[in-house]
């Protein structure tokens, strides 16, 4: 990717060589920057290339927060004014969520409610009413804040990012983003695969133990048989931990009956958690399979 951005690993919070300013994460640290309003994603790509270090912004909550920590982008490229950037569409086998789509739009979209009702229902419970009103889905996904819930849910569904860089559009599986990888500069959309016509796609989610952990489960089912099951552990890592649940080929009844074992297998090798203030790793490893087991039973109903 041509430029580092806020979408890559967080840079140091103060200028090079300067002492760390303890407890001074404040809007008064925001250095002067240029505000560039993009009229299209292509224009945004050009603006980002023309202004090295510039950052794209849709909802803005996290971009602004990082600027308060001392990140000093020379320019912010505003995506919110791009016509249709907040649209949700049905393209082929995917649900396509525009880069400026807010959480609330996703949760209340008739299209989402029709095509992937679990996604709409779950999204209406994440974060808070204010964050859902203000924040963009893509911004949430790309912020790499462990507490955020969007990444886990979308990773469970096998969502892909559509990125635009140097005039070229690419796709990247959300679940494949690596901690050390440089993320795309400009995300134009999220693509959420839908179930095959003959099947059903479920998404269930347990957030009752946040901020320690949260667990999402997506399930593809056809004729009462599990085609695929994917579990995601959220809230404890910058990028959610995605695991396949070995339930493929089982009936829903079998899956429910074997839920504890399946959950234990899926979450057998969880990495250390990176948010120690929110709980001990040992506890989270212990209860993550428990939550997943409950979700497997719930999804089987």
């Amino acid at each position: 990717m041509p430029q580092a951005s806020l979408f890559s690993a967080p840079p140091p919070v103060s200028p090079e060589g300067a002492p760390r300013l303890v407890a001074h994460r404040t809007r008064h640290r925001i250095a002067p920057f240029r505000f560039l309003r993009a009229e299209s994603f292509e224009a945004a790509d050009i603006l980002l290339r023309a202004n090295p270090g510039a950052v794209p912004m849709a909802g803005g909550l996290d971009v602004v927060n990082r600027m308060k920590e001392g990140v000093t982008p020379p320019a912010v490229v505003w995506l919110g004014a791009i016509p249709g950037a907040d649209a949700i569409t049905h393209e082929g086998d995917d649900l396509v969520i525009g880069a400026a789509c807010r959480h609330d739009q996703l949760a209340t979209s008739p299209l989402v409610q029709a095509l992937l009702p679990d996604l709409a229902a779950v999204w209406g419970r994440i974060a808070s009413s204010r964050i859902r009103a203000q924040g963009a889905v893509v911004g949430n996904v790309m912020a790499d804040v462990p507490a955020y819930e969007g990444p886990a849910l979308l990773a469970a569904l096998g969502a892909q990012l559509t990125v635009l860089a140097n005039g070229r559009s690419e796709t990247l599986a959300l679940a494949d983003r690596q901690e050390e990888a440089t993320a795309p500069v400009l995300v134009t959309a999220l693509r959420v695969p839908l179930a095959a016509p003959s099947g059903v796609r479920r998404l269930v989610y347990d957030r009752s133990l946040r901020p320690a952990l949260a667990v999402a489960l997506s399930l593809d089912v056809a004729d009462g048989q599990v085609l695929a099951a994917r579990a995601v552990l959220g809230a404890g890592h910058a990028r959610p931990v995605v695991r396949a649940v070995p339930a493929t080929g089982r009936t829903l009844g079998e899956m429910a009956a074997q839920a504890p074992d399946l959950a234990a297998q899926a979450f057998a090798d969880l990495p250390d958690f990176t948010t120690p203030w929110a709980g001990r790793t040992a506890y989270r490893r212990r209860v993550a399979p428990q939550l997943l087991s409950r979700l497997l039973k719930e999804a089987a109903r």
């Binding site: 300067a18 809007r27 640290r29 009103a133 001990r280």
Partner: protein
């Protein structure tokens, strides 16, 4: 310059987005919106919320340029000039859905957005929706009710006529409330503090030249500037906290240098140019580390200061051993003898966690040099005490120091005693200009906290359940500096016996220094720590002896009229009646079936208890009746949302027989206002309120004496009511009498009142306690035995107001404090990794939200009428925080048979305790949790 045009509260406006890139600053600055105020600066709390095209948005995290062409609504826009308020505003006022008012604009707008989206929400939807924003005061029940009522008002279902609003109510729901953070004066500079990244280090050198040269910087202050001060350190009794670090830093965040500049951004830029040479030193993170032999010392020499007096049975020591700043010991009876003959002795240990005040208005001070002295506006609970401290520090006579205190955006103890005022004054004097120092919430986390504590209790009990004697050893984690720790140690040590009859007591409390955030006043002030341990252990004892926990308490409770301890004041609440009432409400003795196999239900009960009203307090008040017969109160109680001003108005109104609407309250100004020792220890109603009552009686007497002369009748034949003097069926407006005698230029009548709680060497704390503050709590919990998560099904929290002068405020205090305790019990805490604070931002520091409300939440006000305050009133400000934690611990044991002794009861700890129990039952022996 980037001109951004948008619609603000219905009117077109344009601002320079380059000059004010964040919407909150554009609105509160060039746009002149008084109702937009940043609190957490993280988009976490919602205090600064506005609506953008009808959609909630935190203005602190919205770029101004992004609202171009859009409609921005602030809380002021909900009520057009001279127009009626919105249904939400009205419901918030009439439902007392706010206290300090800092969160109110955001809460009101959030409710508007909900009702625009769904005009008839269910309670569950209201709870979930309103859970977006933080309120530190109310406990959310009142907010939830107000939103539901607003829905009814909007739909026309409810036709009750609106009541008139008090000025502060109108101000809070329309965005015109004025806080210290809103103060500005000509030529004002902004200050910022460079804070230590080290927990413990020697300062070798500080290089400030580059910072001082930065254009816009006016003054830089370091420890070298303390050389000319009369006293460079402050603290209550133990004066160990330097105005700014001198030779050492003692915790992460300790102020090292401060800059005053033309604006905050310049001050921050200057901080980045300051170089500090540190020599890191070994640090102590915990009480255990601090007390270990050979532990690193925070202070190598004794600190300044002098202990307060104590009475019978008490010994107190200043800095008795390394890293211990204070020791309190209270003895009564022959403990050894009683223990030797007791049927049972129980030894248990409890760990109390540590919260931050996290006020939505953090500490803010404006200092302005005035001749040899200075003038101050500061968010401080104790303006006169602060004046005395500043006088000592700067060697100035008190009359050259003038302190104004405005309404506070909550406090909970954060703003008691001296804090950063001397540093602000130092900057202002060096700059020769007024300086404003406003801490961020992040800085607040590093400035003061509650005391973590370990409480080890040994309790001797007779076979029949009689409590006989208690020994306790309490270690408070005082953090790096004393602040109010010595007094907290007094209180925790004196209160740990609880409201029970004992033959003997020996309680020691030590305040121990560690290289962590200083600890000081926090709502409950040692009472929370004491009650958690004591009421937990009582339940444990009852279960061990096979006794009913309620019955055990009823057997041992002190009845009204019996002194708490020999020489002290008598119990002034019917503790038995309160306990029985709460037990009945919680359905004590009945066990409901669990809702699922992995869930278990249990009930718990507790009586939190503390003394209140302060020690040996002195307060004065003045009540003026102006020429038209209306009244103005002058007293120094600081209103921080607790409702003190309205209580005073009602006291005066009752004495002068007029509507409280005809009574106003003057602002606090140490040059003008009647003296008061401070707003703490829930003393406003009972102590200052009594001074106000006496002042009102005095002015009433003067009016009647004056009228008697004018009407030529005996004063005792007259009455004063509704601004008129009455004699039989005759009524003469006071205004007419005044004009008749004093002429058209008018006159006023002034009455003064005061109260002094006399010292008493027979009382342990050298003065009898003003009044006693119980908190009866009953709770039903549901424990998830697979995850350890505890849910509150039903919480009953009760307090004795003596007489509730402002019932809605009393209820709000009980509920707010109880929800604070719920947070502390289940999740809210400062988490340290060694000496490093991990929960150091509002995003990481979890605070209670409306979604944390118990399924059923009842607050109960008893009016038992035995208070020493006006008309039998007591305060209740701290009550609700006292009993909740132990009641929940007791309920958890009732549910699943495990005892949690360390707060907070996170799912992790609960599950670990369940594991330990299972291992124990499997024969593996007890397992440490």
């Amino acid at each position: 310059m980037i001109d951004t045009a948008f619609t603000l509260d219905g009117a077109a406006i344009a601002v320079d987005a380059a000059a004010a890139p964040i919407l909150a600053d554009a609105l509160s600055g060039p746009c002149g919106c008084s109702g937009v105020r940043v609190a957490c600066d993280h988009g976490a709390c919602g205090a600064c919320m506005v609506l953008v095209d009808g959609v909630p948005a935190t203005s602190c995290s919205t770029l101004t340029a992004t609202v171009a062409g859009r409609a921005v609504t602030t809380v002021a826009g909900l009520r057009p000039a001279q127009g009626p308020p919105s249904a939400v505003q009205r419901a918030f006022v009439e439902g007392a859905a706010f206290q300090c008012g800092m969160c109110t604009p955001g809460m009101v707008l959030l409710a508007e957005a909900l009702l625009d989206r769904n005009p008839a929400p269910e309670r569950a939807e209201v709870r979930a929706w309103m859970g977006a924003n933080v309120c530190r005061c109310t406990g959310y029940r009142a907010i939830e009710d107000a939103v539901l009522r607003a829905a009814a008002l909007r739909s026309g279902e409810e036709e009750a006529p609106p009541r008139s609003w008090r000025p502060e109510e109108a101000a809070k729901v329309t965005g015109t409330a004025f806080f210290t953070t809103d103060v500005t004066v000509p030529g004002l500079l902004e200050a910022k503090i460079l804070r230590s990244p080290h927990a413990h280090a020697r300062i070798r050198a500080i290089h400030t030249a580059a910072a001082a040269r930065l254009p816009g910087v006016v003054a830089v202050v370091t420890g070298a500037d303390l050389a000319d001060l009369a006293e460079p350190c402050y603290g209550l009794w133990v004066k160990d906290q330097p105005v700014i670090a001198q030779d050492k830093v003692r915790h992460v965040g300790d102020p090292v240098a401060a800059v005053a500049a033309r604006d905050a951004a310049t001050a921050l830029a200057a901080l980045a140019l300051i170089e500090v040479e540190y020599e890191p030193l070994p640090a102590v993170a915990t009480v255990e580390e601090a007390l270990a032999p050979g532990a690193p010392l925070l202070f190598e020499a004794p600190s300044a200061g002098r202990l307060g007096p104590h009475g019978a049975g008490v010994t107190s020591l200043k800095e008795p051993e390394p890293n211990v700043l204070y020791e309190f010991r209270h003895r009564m009876g022959d403990v050894d003898a009683v223990f030797a003959t007791a049927d049972h002795v129980f030894c248990d240990s409890f760990d109390f966690s540590r919260m931050s005040h996290a006020c939505l208005e953090s500490i803010v001070t404006i200092a302005r040099p005035m001749g040899e002295g200075f003038e101050l506006w500061s968010s401080n609970q104790d303006p006169f005490f602060l004046r005395q401290d500043l006088s000592d520090i700067f060697g100035l006579p008190e009359h050259l120091i003038r302190i104004h205190t405005l309404h506070l955006g909550s406090a909970f103890g954060l703003k008691s005693y001296c804090k950063l005022e001397p540093l602000t004054v130092l900057l202002a004097r060096k700059a020769g200009r007024p300086v404003r120092l406003a801490l961020t919430m992040d800085e607040g986390f590093l400035t003061l906290s509650q005391h973590a504590a370990r409480l080890q209790l040994q309790t001797a009990v007779a076979a029949d359940g009689r409590l006989l004697a208690r020994r306790s050893l309490i270690h408070l984690d005082a953090g790096a500096y004393a602040d109010g720790s010595a007094l907290v140690a007094d209180k925790v040590g004196y209160r740990v016996g609880g409201p029970y009859l004992w033959e003997a007591l020996d309680n020691r409390a030590l305040a121990v220094r560690t290289n962590t955030v200083p600890a000081g006043s926090y709502r409950g002030f040692g009472g929370t720590q004491a009650a958690f341990a004591s009421e937990s252990q009582l339940d444990m004892i009852a279960r061990r002896l096979g006794l009913d926990p309620v019955a055990l308490r009823l057997r041992n409770l002190l009845p009204p009229g019996v002194p708490y301890r020999p020489g002290d004041s008598a119990i002034d609440s019917d503790l038995h009646a309160g306990l029985e009432a709460v037990a009945a409400r919680i359905g004590w003795g009945r066990r409901e079936p669990p809702r699922a196999p992995h869930l278990a239900r249990g009930k718990g009960i507790a009586i939190g208890f503390k003394d209140a009203g302060g020690q040996g307090r002195f307060a004065q008040a003045q009540v003026k009746v102006v020429g038209d017969g209306r009244a103005i109160i002058s007293c120094a109680t600081v209103d921080m949302g607790q409702g003190a001003s309205e209580a005073f108005r009602r006291i005066v109104a009752e004495v002068l027989k007029m509507s409280p609407a005809n009574v106003s309250r003057a602002e606090v100004d140490t040059d003008q206002t009647a003296f008061d020792q401070g707003t703490h220890a829930s003393s406003a109603t009972a102590v200052t309120g009594e001074a106000v009552r006496r002042a009102a009686e005095a002015v009433r007497g003067r009016i009647l004496a004056f009228a008697a002369g004018q009407l030529d009748v005996p004063a005792d034949a007259l009455d004063y009511r509704d601004g008129a003097v009455r004699h039989g069926n005759e009524s003469v407006p006071l205004k007419d009498l005044v004009r008749g005698y004093y002429g058209g230029l008018g006159a006023e009548f002034t009455g003064q009142g005061e109260i002094k709680i006399e010292t008493c060497k027979e009382a342990a704390l050298f003065a009898q306690i003003v009044y006693w503050m119980p908190n009866w709590v009953g709770v039903e919990v549901e424990v998830d035995m697979e995850t350890g998560k505890v849910a509150l099904l039903h919480l009953v929290s009760a307090a004795d107001a003596g007489r509730a002068l402002v019932p809605e405020a009393v209820r709000g205090q009980i509920e707010g404090a109880s929800m604070q305790a719920v947070g502390q019990t289940l999740f809210e805490q400062l988490v340290f990794d060694g000496t490093e604070l991990l929960t150091d931002t509002p995003q990481r520091y979890r605070m209670p939200l409306s979604t944390d409300l118990p399924e059923r939440f009842e607050s109960v006000i008893f009016e038992q009428g035995m208070g020493r305050g006006p008309f039998g009133a007591k305060g209740v400000g701290e009550a609700g925080i006292l009993g909740v934690s132990s009641a929940i611990a007791n309920a958890i044991e009732d549910a699943v048979g495990v005892r949690l002794t360390a707060l907070p009861f996170t799912p992790d700890k609960v599950l670990a305790a369940l594991d330990a129990k299972a291992l124990d039952e499997a024969g593996s022996g007890p397992v440490a949790v």
